[in-house]
Amino acid sequence: MRAFFDMGGYAAFVWPAYGVTLAVVLLNILSARRALERSRAEARRRLQMQGEAS
């Protein structure tokens, strides 16, 4: 297990590389879902305003 985390002495390069990539993947998932939710909320708000106007 120790050897695995040590990565043959390259731990200081391998793990940050995996960490940055994982962070980019997770942020992409979160921000794509947030963007969709924002658009849906915005569309709902517009519909509500139209409903009140008519």
Binding site: G8, Y10, V14, P16, A17, V24, A32, R33, A35
Partner: protein
Amino acid sequence: MNWTWFHRLASPPHVYTLAARLTPWFAWPAALCIAAGLWGGLVLAPPDYQQGDGFRIIYVHAPSAWMSLMVYVTMASAAAIGLIWRMKVAHAVAASCAPIGASFTFAALVTGALWGQPMWGTYWEWDPRLTSELVLLFLYLGYIGLRAGIEDPQRADRASAVLAVVGVVNVPIIHYSVTWWNSLHQAPSVMRLGKPQMPAAMLVPLLLMLLGFTLLFIALLLTRLRGEVLARERAASWIREVVRT
């Protein structure tokens, strides 16, 4: 030939519901491929005879770099279709690609730097491959900035589409930079004619990661596309159907 499928792709309500239905079919296989690729790359693959365990950075670096180019080509193609056929959905696809592409270009540059330091002795060099990849990041950021800077959505679509299409010249430059010029960066070992230069235990996890990232891109694109399509349709009655909850 029957072109109805193509015309249906121009219809926002059809695209919205189709994208919603398709997303899980890409997202879950993406998660499986990436999980298997990580296990194979970090645990099962043997250390490289020259780079030891340091070579394992390839399993995050190569897929990120692949994404940076594949997403750009998708974005530029969608932008061209939007310009030629004045198709709103195509512009929405292009706009959805930009943040995804920019973030993976950033990941490719950072993981490349972290691989460069132990192997070449430097995080950064103004090398043809590295510099052209940095230009790609600026193209994405320029595209995003240009869109954000233009108030009128149709003008923003057209202006940013022109930038995306012109910028595509950088893609072959990045790809061939390692063969055209003297580069620190190695030549392609998988995306080449003939057999890949890697044993199966190293290659299979890499192919799984490349496939997983590609599927992830499609899932992300479909999700963002729904948001973009909704934002572009101001008054259409179909919106009432899809945002009801």
